[in-house]
Amino acid sequence: MNFLGYERPDGSAGIRNYVLVIPGGLLATKICEFVEGTRTILTADSGSGRTGRDRETIARTLIGLGRNPNVASVIVHSSNPGSGYPELKPARIAEEIAKSGKMVEVIDVSKEESTFRALEKGIILAREMVLEASQLRRQPFDVSYLTVGVKCGHSDTTSGIAGNPAVGNLFDRIVGAGGTALFGENTEIIGAEQVLAKRGVNEEVSRGILEVAAETEERAKATGEDIRTINPVPSNIAGGLSSLEEKSLGAIHKAGSAPIQGILKYGERPEVKGLYFVDNWMSSSSIFTGYAAAGAQLVIFQLGGGGWTGGDLLPTSTAVVAPLMWTTANPKTLATVPTCIDFYSGTIIEGKDTIEEAGEKLLQKVLDIASGTFTKVETMKHIDPVQIYLKDPCF
């Protein structure tokens, strides 16, 4: 029940070994184009014109990505429209990341002759950091060092019957072994919140779950639209799901059966290990970035796919520093996109595996990936843009 990971100064264990350059923008992108083993965030959410609460969410996301165990060292640069705000000052972000004990360097473009001088400096620095990171060797860690986040998407009726229960069983195993598991999607608990709320470790957590559902439903009602025209999304309906409630009741199966330790904000790091509900948005452009910022070394997209129109699966890289693995329980989906699916749990529907057996196999797959085996989409170099989950209007 071990995996081979990279030991970090704060005692955590990385399953990958990247140098991260943040925030996004020309400087970061170009450094990463030149230097192997680097990662950056690609987003238009710079913080400019955003409320203090939203700027803090952006800062929490950047800091969290920097602190993620998969990151060996970090470069923070000042060439970003949001850099002037107190929350987003490079020195502050660098300082918060450095609390984890890893190496963080700041490139202050105003102190260089030009952006291009800063770029030269960044490339040299990133190459040194990557070289140093490459000297680290993997060593065994037990499952308690793992944090895994999940999203279910293009859900169909196989998701609630088999795909999500298999992931839920994986989550029970990870949490049971002392690790951490993250699930979320605040719209997809509407209609199932009464079931989830019973699982809070205390009254406060249970109440919090009901409040998230109520707040989200209020926002939905304020639009004046039937939520079924928004979510379930068309591919859900084409896959046999008829209402948001039905989608939600299937969706919560991915959370297994462990007690819910707490509710986290987008990108918030849990203080103690266990199962957490994250108040986030379902979009795969957004949710995985937040999980990685919360410390997830690996993220899972549990795909229904009954309504999938074909072609390879995207996203590939929205967790920025955490590999993405795809699972499905739909045999038709598996046949459509075998090049992207890492794990198939349709064996539950076919009567070949119990949920327990599929969960055990899924754990073995997760440990294999955690030890260095690529996920299928990890073999692609495509960088997806990400959207940080911001709740306030922009000005």
């Binding site: 009602k221 939520i227 299937g250």
Partner: protein, 102 residues
């Protein structure tokens, strides 16, 4: 080869999820643990879609996972497919909030 039939997820459910493409007139075995309910499909029902295992009156709750997944918008006969044409969600109904009906 034995039919995979359909799956109920709770004893309270009035619908089952079919586990293969079902043609009209097929006898479907809806399983809940060791218990089996037989129902004749009145129409074609694709893999993963829902079949009513009892008559469901207009206005009654459609139950799956032992919980309400919405309200029947038409009278639904045992053996008919249950989907967006005869099932309405009851949650997040901004359209109804605006009209003041609920």
């Amino acid at each position: 080869m034995a039919s995979r039939g359909a799956l109920m997820l709770s004893a309270k459910d009035n619908v089952a999820t079919v586990l293969e493409d079902i043609e009209a007139g097929t006898d479907v075995s809806a399983r809940l643990g060791n218990e089996v309910r037989n129902v004749k499909a009145l129409e074609r029902i694709p893999f993963g879609f829902k079949i009513a295992i009892v008559d469901i009156a207009k206005g009654a709750e459609v139950v799956k996972y032992g919980e309400s997944v919405g309200i029947a918008s038409l009278d639904i006969n045992k053996g008919e497919m249950v989907h967006i044409h005869n099932l309405e969600g009851a949650r997040g109904r901004g359209d109804m909030a605006k009209g003041g009906s609920k």
